[in-house]
Symmetry: C2
Subunit: 417 residues, 2 copies
């Protein structure tokens, strides 16, 4: 059998463990001997394919590839570029096929979220149409945890562990200060459309008095009066109120809270940060001293606190993708199956890309408590296994020893796109 | 010799390792056998003394005291209450002495920063005046790293490690995204008066291309034009610009940048966050897509990433304070001495509280680069030893196993204050 040439690309927002999936692909390919030819990566995701900007991973040492296992970000670069519709923009897809052909790519692997699954599915159908035998395999990744079929999405478990740890720590802090100083702490987390990450922060609450006392989910419209009552109630009961706010929280009109009326000196509305908006509201209506934090990129790049389970699963889906490639599969994605909850056991199964594309997994309604401010036991049961295990990176000189790859370019064979 | 009764109190903003100092005090006291009588703690710092709100630590199990070694926040509560001047407000000091007498306290230990050293010094002089033989011993703590004489302040090294790790991770993230998305990342850190914490983030920059490319220090007035040039230059050179901004950055008029013109829907000026202000400026003047994070409490409570050196030193100053107490000392504070840089060696020496009070250690001018945007080798040489070593807390169910104490109250003997 002719050795297969592989092209791997990373897509969308990166995570603490997407490189672990890359390591899973590359190490499995290296171990497969003569069955695999070249293993290329596209620089900056699908843009690298369009611009024939490819990287030859064979120049990377064994140690460099091992370091992918514990280095956050996207080692080959990612992108937010979304391919246009295949019917109206055939040229883009023809270009992709031209690049695949020019470099004799047998398998394209696309490591990303929902949009990427859609793109990967479209590409998986091109080979037959265009008479070039291309396999396309998706690899799941998204901190949003919104892919269907799979039990969870690699990247999410590590964010979950980080946000829960962070709010637990900050709650210990404010609990010490509240008698004479700060009464309210607000931590803003990602999740424009779904409250998965905000929910995960709820795992920090081991006892009733512990934070977070309030979680604001994008699934529940913000009601100012109910919210302020709840805050005042927490301060009365516990001496302080520690809360987690999803960036996606909206008011009853469906408008993002972070956009409702906040302006800077130039009249810009887009400053963002729902945390400071909520803080100002509390100060104005209740008069409490507050502190707030916005985690932003830190939550999805905090490899120093990765979930061991998540890192392992990220590696496993990369490994499985390469195995599917060698088995000649097309239009599939390895996904995670929960085999049991206690003890947590999981495996990998094959899903059809057609079923993964354009379906967003919502958070079940029974994961949010009746009053809308906390998570239920069902939610805990789902989330808890995902943050198990610590998988620390090595440290040099007191800091995580993350590594850059050489990323040697492959000589171009085509004209510029 | 009559066993000594100890009263320990925590003061000011708490840290990831202030409880390690408490553990140093209590474990050393327990090991001292008959030399030590009661070990009390004041609830919520000096307020607990004023209100005779004391805690008997003998009810805490050995395991509970061990857990202080790795639990962030202030286990007995802290406060931001500053004692009034001793000449004009004698009643407060008389009340303190009344509480000390009522509970036969021989040694008062005050664990805090600069203000607390001043308070501790004043109290140390009361015994002689008021004819009650009280010893007062200070224990250093502050993430601001601004106490004189001591080489560093327990609490700072852990913040330093956390901010440097965080900006390294976020820089790996934005480096992956910058080709088609975010170009600028801004991380805001604490440090109202001095740039120690911002400087520490500079340790993350191992190679020129690595972030942070820009640090904004409170020591250097903000110049909009120079800054914007530098940002544009970084984006051109590296493809992105990763920066760290101290909350204390001011413009040429000495006004905090975070206060310059930012208003919310109600016209409040105090929303704060210099990061969003800088972000809006960059968007307005350079048009770059940005992300920003504000660490706030998370940086000083991130016990999950404590510096091993810092945790060890925090414990050591607590232990030394108890030893000084047993030696009958008064008006002293154990501080940290750097004995050598490579390898880093340190010890504990005795400083006079009189010399610690009301002196703020500034960052040396030669720690900031000529252009004002990064740290020098001298600064690195000073900072690097302080973040060495990882001292991970134990984990249960995927989260750090931080513990609350029982905090059993001591029966009051006096009327309310």
């Amino acid at each position: 059998m002719k050795p297969k040439n592989i092209l791997y690309a990373q897509s969308g927002g990166v995570t603490a463990v997407i490189n672990a999936s890359a390591a899973g692909v590359i190490e499995t390919a290296r171990a497969a001997g003569h069955k695999v030819g070249k293993v290329y990566a596209a620089r900056n995701g699908i843009l690298g394919v369009l611009h024939e900007d490819l990287i030859d991973t064979s120049f990377e040492s064994k140690i460099a590839i091992q370091s992918l296992r514990y280095t956050p970000g996207g080692a080959f670069g990612s992108c937010r570029y979304k391919l246009k519709d295949i019917e109206t923009h055939a040229a883009e897809y023809e270009r992709l096929m031209a690049v695949f052909k020019a470099h004799e790519i047998d398998v394209f692997m696309y490591n990303g979220g929902g949009d990427s699954a859609d793109t990967a599915y479209k590409i998986s159908q091109l080979g037959k149409k265009m008479g070039y035998p291309l396999q396309c395999i998706g690899i799941p990744k998204t901190i949003d945890n919104d892919l269907p079929i799979t039990d969870t999405c690699p990247g999410f478990g590590s964010v979950a562990k980080y946000v829960a740890t962070s709010i637990r720590e900050a709650s210990y802090d404010i609990a010490s200060m509240c008698s004479s100083s700060t009464k309210v702490f607000i931590m803003e987390v990602m999740g424009r459309h779904a409250g998965w990450i905000a929910a995960a922060a709820g795992l920090a609450r081991a006892h009733e008095k512990d934070g977070p006392h309030i979680i604001l989910f994008p699934e529940r419209p913000f009601n100012e009066a109910t919210f302020l009552n709840k805050v005042a109630d927490c301060v009365k009961k516990y001496g302080f109120c520690s809360m987690v706010v999803s960036e996606g929280v909206r008011n009853a009109d469906g408008k993002f809270l972070s956009e409702s009326g906040l302006t800077d000196a130039f009249g810009h509305a887009q400053l963002g940060g729902v945390a400071p908006t909520i803080a100002a509201l509390i100060k104005d209506k209740l008069g409490f001293k507050y502190h707030w934090a916005v985690l932003d990129y830190l939550q999805r790049s905090a490899r120093h606190l990765a979930s061991g389970t998540d890192a392992e699963q990220a590696y496993a889906v990369g490994k499985a993708a390469l195995e599917y490639a060698l088995e000649g599969k097309n239009a599939v994605m390895p996904v995670i199956v929960r085999e049991s909850n206690i003890p947590y056991m999981w495996g990998i199964k094959e899903a059809n890309l057609a079923d993964m594309a354009n379906v967003e997994k919502k958070m079940p309604a029974d994961y949010i408590s009746q009053d809308g401010f906390s998570i239920t036991q069902a939610c805990r049961d789902y989330l808890e296994p995902l943050i198990q295990g610590e998988d620390y990176p090595p440290y040099v000189n007191g800091l995580p020893d993350y590594r850059h790859l050489r990323n040697e370019p492959v000589v171009k064979k085509l004209k510029a796109f």
